[in-house]
């Protein structure tokens, strides 16, 4: 499997607080990697570094073999790292289609040149297409405003937007935390389809049952360090819990 993202010895210090201490990890295309750990273990800090929200104190990062430094989320996106944060970054009062293309609107062309007039019809059609590719069938009308969608539908839109430009790396921050059972299933199914399409998926989760149902690998963090890197099929939930709380049998 192809390595698409590589982090080496990444640290992040806030004054005397060492939020991240020498994190090294790799993500592979067509693989779902779960990132678990207790509150304050450094998961969010790690995700923020990878997605360009914050800059690491030391360490290096490679995307598809090339060294990168992300000064902002936009740079990360351009490099192919798309992150779906917990707050989803959707605008409630805009429609599904408008949110799908927020900041990257499709425009009309005139005499072979782009003019600053929205091509609303095309955005709607592309939205339906993008949702269809991911098997999201509960959203039929792209003119529906986000505020009248359910939590699962919102999550679906956010994920669909992240992979709109077929991103090689997708990071999901607690995608099912606020969802009910059936909606969580939808999102997990979505992740599996991303995996099949060759995307490298990193998912932050607290729910070990879900982690075991979708992930190929589990990375455990504790106190700012990566303490374990398991192949999911080789371990039990108990092993992971022990690694999270810091007892014996730390992974390789």
């Amino acid at each position: 499997m192809k390595s698409v993202l590589k982090l080496e010895n990444v640290t992040k210090h806030y004054g005397t607080v060492h939020a991240l201490q020498g994190a090294t990890l790799e993500l592979y295309s067509g693989e779902i990697t779960a990132l678990v750990g207790d509150n304050g273990a450094g998961k969010s800090t790690l995700v923020k570094v990878i997605s360009g929200v914050i800059q690491p104190t030391t360490g290096s990062m490679q995307v598809q073999g090339e060294s990168v430094v992300f000064l902002n989320p936009q740079m990360a996106r351009t490099a192919g790292v798309h992150t779906v944060f917990q707050d989803l970054a959707l605008v409630d009062s805009l429609t599904t289609a408008e949110n799908m293309f927020l900041g990257a609107e499709l425009k009309h062309r005139f005499l072979n040149r782009e003019i600053p007039i929205l091509n609303r019809q095309k955005m709607k059609i592309e939205t339906i297409k993008a949702l269809g590719v991911l098997g999201i069938t509960t959203l039929k009308d792209p003119s529906t405003r986000i505020e009248s969608l359910s939590g699962g539908q919102r999550q679906s839109v956010a994920i669909a937007r992240a992979v709109r430009d077929s991103a090689p790396i997708v990071i999901l921050d607690e995608p099912t935390a606020a969802l009910g059972v059936s909606q969580s299933e939808q999102v997990l199914g979505l992740m599996k389809r991303l995996k099949v399409s060759g995307t490298a998926v990193l998912v932050v989760s607290h729910n070990l049952r879900e982690v075991f149902s979708v992930s190929d690998r589990v990375i455990v963090m504790r106190l700012g360090k990566i303490v374990a890197n398991f192949q999911t099929k080789d371990v039990t939930e108990e092993d992971v819990v022990l690694a999270i709380v810091g007892s014996a049998r730390d992974g390789n």
Binding site: L88, V91, Q121, S148
Partner: protein
């Protein structure tokens, strides 16, 4: 958070079969439409002359400043900001234009151009302080409210007023457009629209099979209907000379603002900044640039509002523009369903709100009620609009 999501879960099951009642009631503009009908009915019964062509032309000939301020307010409010200096900027602009046109040899068109340019500089300055200085727009424009009113009084000089001295600008507000011209204008607009439709739109988007032609007919009809309504309306006013030119002009300006807000990327970015600034930023929208543009456009509209006032009153004095115009403008915006929190609302709502407020004023004046009653009723209308909106939303939406 938990309870909110739970509620959504329950509602999501039937979200695809939204009842038609809910669709109508939650549509932006419904409360406004209802209030408009009610107002017309009440004043039609209470007064003889409310629906007279003469009264309607008179009423609509005065609404330009209020409409412009309401549309300007909409532009800042959808971005989640507020501009309390709009009335003062209008007043300053009016005083400046009156000075250039009435007291210098400058041609009136140049006078207007110089005035607008100077006002744009002011708007840019205020916007820059908000955006780069990271000060709340409420505070900056509150200061602007005082500063620009001071400058306005300064420009007026010792006489504290400046007449336009029979400039053609003063004729603008009494000019009427007969139905023939309205028809011609409508035809030109429709021709331009068809050109755009054929040359740009149909080349750019492949329709899904089947509903192509029915959708096209629907789109064209939606453009045609308001034009037909406008032509019929001007026909009705022909006996008093036609519709006021200033109404025609503010219709065009509102149309342009609507196009900018709903059909151009920058407009959608303005809404997204008002609705969820973090999301806008996360999606790579240059929040700084969009907000600055918004403030500049707002200044432009406020400037035109000031000029439309002096055109109507024949000159500027210290009461031109100022606080009451600002508050009515924001009131009209709110009546029109523009949310003060930002992110939602339309300029046509603001336009309707301005017409409604003016109609109420006009109707009460026809009843020869004292001024203080008019103020009280106006305030109550704004309050009622807000309450109706809040009640309907609470009942029919879940967010």
């Amino acid at each position: 958070m938990g309870t909110k999501i739970d509620k959504r879960k329950i509602d999501s099951s039937d979200s695809e079969e939204i009842s038609s009642a809910r669709k109508v009631l939650t549509k932006e503009g419904f409360p406004l439409f209802f209030a408009m009908i009610l107002t017309i009915l009440i004043f039609r019964i209470a007064t003889e002359s409310f629906l007279d062509p003469r009264n309607i032309a008179n009423l609509l000939g005065q609404i330009a400043p209020l409409v412009l301020i309401a549309v300007a307010s909409t532009l800042v409010i959808v971005m989640g900001e507020i501009d309390l200096s709009l009335g003062s900027i209008a007043g300053f602009s009016g005083a400046l234009a009156a000075f250039f046109i009435g007291s210098t040899n400058l041609h009136w068109v140049f006078g207007i151009i110089v005035t607008v340019l100077l006002t744009l500089a002011i708007a840019l300055l205020q916007g820059a302080i908000v955006v780069f200085g990271r000060v709340r727009s409420f505070a900056v424009t509150l200061a602007g409210f005082l500063v620009w009113h001071g400058v306005q009084v300064g420009v007026l000089g010792n006489a504290s007023q400046r007449p336009l001295n029979r400039s053609p600008l003063a004729d603008l507000s009494i000019t009427r457009v007969s139905s023939g011209w309205v028809l011609l204008g409508s035809l030109i607009y429709f021709a331009l629209y068809l050109c755009f439709f054929i040359l740009v739109k149909s080349n750019n988007s492949r329709e899904p099979e089947g509903n192509e032609s029915s959708r096209k007919i629907l789109t064209v009809t939606r453009t045609l209907l308001p034009l037909v309504a406008l032509c019929l309306f001007s026909k009705y006013l022909d006996q008093v000379g036609g519709i006021p030119l200033t109404l025609f002009l503010v219709l065009v300006i509102t149309l342009c603002s609507w196009f900018l807000l709903t059909r151009m990327p920058i407009g959608r970015h303005m809404y997204s900044i008002g609705g969820n600034p973090a999301a806008a930023r996360a999606n790579g929208i240059s929040v700084t640039k969009v907000r600055l543009t918004g403030f500049i456009l707002t200044g432009l509209l406020a400037s035109l509002a000031g000029i439309s006032i002096i055109s109507y009153t024949g000159g500027a004095d210290s009461s031109t523009g100022a606080g009451s115009l600002l508050l009515q403008g924001i009131g009209a915006t709110v009546i029109g369903g523009v949310s003060l929190i930002g992110g939602r609302g339309s300029v046509w709502g603001a336009f309707g709100g301005a017409v409604l407020l003016s109609a109420v004023q006009n109707g009460l004046a026809l009843l020869s009620l004292p001024f203080y009653v008019i103020d009280i009723v106006e305030g109550l209308v704004v309050l009622t609009a807000l309450l109706a909106d809040a009640l309907i939303r609470r009942k029919y939406t879940f967010s």
